[in-house]
């Protein structure tokens, strides 16, 4: 599936599980998340488990270029987020 446009949700449509949602992130000079605004609160990132980049569908009109981070937050929750390099925004799954 491609982008998550801001179209109103029709009640009888096929939906995505884990659709990306916008997220506020504070990152350091290297682009690594330090704090994320998750469930109404700013939470400190305790650990970055993994970091990888995906470039996909560059042959279509809607290419994807993302930098993924698998995080462990201060409250013990894991969280997968990515930086959309084309849209210059942070998103969370």
């Amino acid at each position: 599936m491609l982008k998550a446009p801001g179209r109103p949700h029709h009640p009888d449509t096929v939906r995505r599980l884990s659709a990306p949602q916008p997220l506020r992130v504070e990152a350091d000079a290297y682009g690594t998340p330090r704090r994320v605004h998750h469930r109404g609160l700013w939470r400190v990132v305790m650990q970055v488990h993994d970091r990888y980049r995906t470039d996909d569908r560059w042959w279509t009109e809607e290419p994807i270029s993302r930098e993924y981070f698998e995080l462990l937050l201060e409250d013990g929750r894991p969280l997968t987020i990515y930086y959309d390099r084309l849209g210059s925004r942070w998103q969370a799954h």
Binding site: M1, P11, S18, A19, P20
Partner: protein, 400 residues
């Protein structure tokens, strides 16, 4: 009988021009610029060409056309789009007259009996038809009204796009007098023979004794003479509007994988099977759309009428698996038609039922009825190994 012929000149080109402008019900990719002469082509032949390209007639080889008009705009034929535009046009016409006969792409006949008294006159009715076609398709049609199909068609052909021509009853012969014999609905060789005999207009044909025309042209001679004299008993055969049931499902976000389409198709077919209610369908028409525009379609005819969900799905799955999407799509629609009584079949002596599942389904239906939409969803894996988590699983309404 009064009838109208509705005609969109150079239909494939008109649809492409409209798409290029991004207008009508078929806005989409297109390259037909407004002023540049254009040729719509299939693999090896010209399908349609701008009027100024006089040597590029439909059916002429594409190689010749390219040699003659290297600077023309060449547009590949999009038959599915033309059929869709023609279907929209027919539906618009059926809102005006209940009896409509399709006569090729961009042409149709309407039975006007009983309609004229609802309008200020034939001209008013013709304007209504032009407006309806324009509003629904964005295309500019011309309308001919006469007492027979042939005279109505000629009137529509001679009218300017967007205009109407009315042939009053009893004036057909006079109207057709100066029309070229090339417009007779026969092979071009017949027109060539007529010209060789110095018979150039329908007036020339009408002035001959019927027996002389019949002697020269055998079987079609009598018909030719009648048409030239404004005698046309060709009946209007309205298209059957057989019952058809359609279900469609849209994706919240466009998809490019056939796996997601197959999952959605499964749900659509399940709903259709429920709506059949002890009946069976002979034909299944599947369509995949992007922003309302047709991207792919397939018409399947079953060997015998079926209501078997698994059988429909097996066929659909095969077709969708082979589908290679070149763009993101957002809707799948399936229509069952030629619906008949279910053929007799040996049923099982002992049927298996699952009371728990039945109770669950009942509850789901109750919740759906109460909240006006699906509230329970089924998670289905479509691409579990995708690098993008949102592509791995989709949620389908759990309603069947």
């Amino acid at each position: 009988m009064r009838l109208a012929c509705v005609f969109v000149p150079r239909f494939p080109l008109a649809v492409e021009r409209l798409a290029a402008r991004g207008g009508g019900a078929h806005s989409g990719a297109g390259a037909a610029g407004a002023g540049q002469p254009a040729i719509v082509y299939s693999r090896t032949q010209v399908v349609e060409a701008s009027p100024e390209l006089t040597e590029a007639w439909p059916g002429r080889s594409l190689r010749h056309a390219r040699a003659l008009y290297p600077d023309a705009l060449y547009i590949p034929e999009d038959a599915a789009r033309y059929r869709e535009a023609a279907a929209v046009m027919l539906r618009a016409l059926e809102c005006i007259a209940p009896e409509v006969e399709p006569a090729g792409l961009g042409c149709a006949y309407l039975d006007l009996r009983g309609l004229e008294r609802h309008y200020a006159g034939a001209d008013d009715l013709a304007r209504t038809i032009v407006r309806a076609v324009r509003e629904e398709t964005g295309l500019l049609a011309s309308v001919g009204i006469a007492s027979g199909k042939f005279a109505a068609r000629i009137a529509a052909l001679l009218a300017d796009p967007g205009a109407a021509s009315v042939v009053h009853t009893g004036r057909e012969r006079r109207f057709l007098r100066d029309v070229s014999v090339g417009l007779l609905p026969f092979d071009p060789e017949i027109a060539q023979r007529l010209h060789a005999l110095a018979i150039h207009t329908l007036g020339d044909v009408a002035g001959l004794p019927r027996t002389a025309v019949e002697a020269q042209f055998r079987g079609i001679g009598g018909r030719m003479w009648e048409l030239a004299n404004g005698i046309d008993g060709d009946p209007l055969i309205a298209r059957r509007t057989a019952e058809a049931i359609t279900e469609r499902l849209s994706f919240e976000s466009p998809v490019v994988t056939s796996e997601a389409l197959i999952m959605a198709a499964r749900q659509v077919v399940r709903r259709l099977a429920m709506r059949l209610e002890r009946r069976a369908a002979r034909k299944m028409h599947a369509q995949v759309l992007a922003e309302g525009r047709l991207v792919w379609e397939r018409l399947e005819t079953f060997r015998d009428a079926t209501s078997d969900e698994a059988r429909m799905m097996t066929l659909l799955k095969t077709r969708l698996s082979a589908l290679q999407l070149t763009e993101a799509v957002d809707t799948i629609a399936v229509t069952l038609s030629e619906i008949t009584r279910e053929p007799a079949r040996q049923s099982k002596l002992i049927t298996e039922t699952n009371p728990q599942l039945e109770r669950l389904l009942e509850s789901v239906h109750e919740i759906r009825a109460r909240f006006g939409g699906p509230m329970v969803w089924r998670a289905v894996e479509v691409d579990p190994c995708s690098r993008h988590p949102e592509d791995r699983t989709i949620l389908i309404p759990y309603d069947a």
